[in-house]
């Protein structure tokens, strides 16, 4: 459905699978992996490198 939207491909750091991310992400931005749902930080753009973002317990827990 988003076929007409610009995307980049990158490697999911957890599963190693190829995933698509929006073309307008910036370095340092957090996005979630479409495969694992994990929050990933954009480390670099050329090439695209993603890393697992540190978990923010506080924003969720009780």
């Amino acid at each position: 459905m988003t076929s007409d939207t610009d995307t980049l491909t990158a490697e999911d750091p957890i599963t190693g699978e190829e995933i698509e991310i929006p073309a307008d992400v910036e370095v340092g931005e957090i996005i979630d992996s479409p495969v694992t749902g994990t929050e990933l930080e954009v480390i670099s753009l050329d090439p695209v490198v993603l890393e697992e973002a540190p978990e923010l317990e506080e924003d969720w827990g009780e």
Partner: protein, 349 residues
């Protein structure tokens, strides 16, 4: 979805009604969702906000970068659409707005009930979404204003009596006592809608002066005595209307009036007495669906007619009504995308 599907965007996609629109449109054979916006979750997957939509391959994007679509659905708080309506029409041929911004026919009413209107020139162009009330004016409409959920429940309950002449501007008091679920408050609730405080309540949250009164008056021609209570459910709005027709009416008259009004309506059901557990309208019976249930009872002693009306505020009361209206406006089958019939048993949906 068909090849020649209409493209659609949802502005306010992280919200409750925005998520419901996405759910319905994603399963609609004649729509293709190409954009869902969010400022707070820009670039995140839609499934992160709405776990039922994890299968949808879509990420939120910025509401300032609107894509060109056939139909733009706006599910934003009051005030956003009246400010951005020109931009919305630049991006889309048809705008369906779920907020109150274009619901009332007169700019005056916005002065009285809200804080005035920024784009009053659009008010005449806007059509009220509820097909049971306004079906004839929807085909071809390009600005559709979704009804308020409590107003929708009330209008669906009372309209048959108004049409039958049993109720009208001069007919005594009509008390409307509404009970609603917590999703009506939207995704950004405060302390009063935290789970510990909101659980188990019967809480008068709009004792008097609820803005939906304005819609009811505008579209039914009735001034009602309106009070809204929060109760412990998430989805659902239930209106109990106590009316005192001048002329005595019989049970048969009532059945006649409601059958006349709704027998051919694809989403309306008359549930009024009978056996088993579900004898009158209940939000549970329609949760997740675009159905509306209405029922009634006569109080012989005091000539009172009690009318019960139940909808899901997220579907019939907002997103479903919006899609239903869009279906009518675009000439699509009325029930397209809205076939889900609900669950039984179901707890507090």
């Amino acid at each position: 979805m068909t090849d020649d599907a209409y493209t659609a965007s949802v502005v306010g996609g992280t919200g409750f009604t925005g998520g419901e629109l996405l759910r319905i449109l994603a399963g609609h054979p004649d729509f293709e969702v190409v954009q869902a916006t969010s400022r707070s979750a820009d670039n995140m997957t839609v499934g992160r906000s709405h776990p039922n939509l994890r299968g949808l391959d879509l990420r939120f994007s910025d509401p300032d970068d609107l894509e060109s679509v056939d139909v733009l659905f706006a599910a934003t708080p009051h005030g956003v659409s009246m400010e951005r309506i020109d931009e919305f029409f630049e991006a889309a041929d048809t705008v369906v707005d779920l907020s109150a911004d274009f619901r009332l026919p007169e700019a005056d009413a916005y002065d009285e009930w809200y804080d005035g209107h920024e784009s009053p020139e659009y008010l005449e162009r806007a059509e009220y979404a509820l097909p049971e009330l306004n079906r004839e004016n929807l085909p071809g409409a390009d600005l559709i204003a979704g009804g308020g959920c409590n107003a929708t429940a009330t209008i669906l309950g009372l309209k048959p009596l108004v049409d039958a002449g049993a109720l009208g501007p001069d007919v005594g008091e009509v008390v409307v006592d509404v009970k609603v679920g917590s999703s009506e408050g939207g995704a950004g609730g405060g302390a009063a809608s935290s789970h510990p405080e909101r659980s188990g309540v019967v809480r008068p949250y709009a004792p008097t002066g609820h803005r939906h009164e304005a819609e009811i008056e505008a579209y039914l021609g009735l001034s009602v005595s309106f009070t809204v209570h929060a109760v412990d459910m998430v989805r659902g709005a239930s209106a109990t209307c106590h009316a005192f027709p001048d002329e005595p009416v019989s049970k048969g008259d009532l059945w006649g009036a409601y059958r006349d009004a709704y027998a051919d309506e694809p989403f309306m059901r008359i549930v009024s007495g009978g056996g088993g557990v579900y004898r009158y309208p209940e939000p549970k019976s329609v949760a997740g669906t675009n159905h509306g249930e209405v029922g009634f009872e006569l109080d012989p002693g005091n000539r009172r007619v009690v009318v019960f009306s139940a909808i899901d505020n997220m579907t019939k009361g907002s997103a479903g009504q919006a899609v239903h209206a869009a279906n009518v406006a675009l000439g699509l089958p009325e029930t397209a995308g809205l076939e889900f019939d609900g669950l039984h048993p179901v707890g507090s949906p």
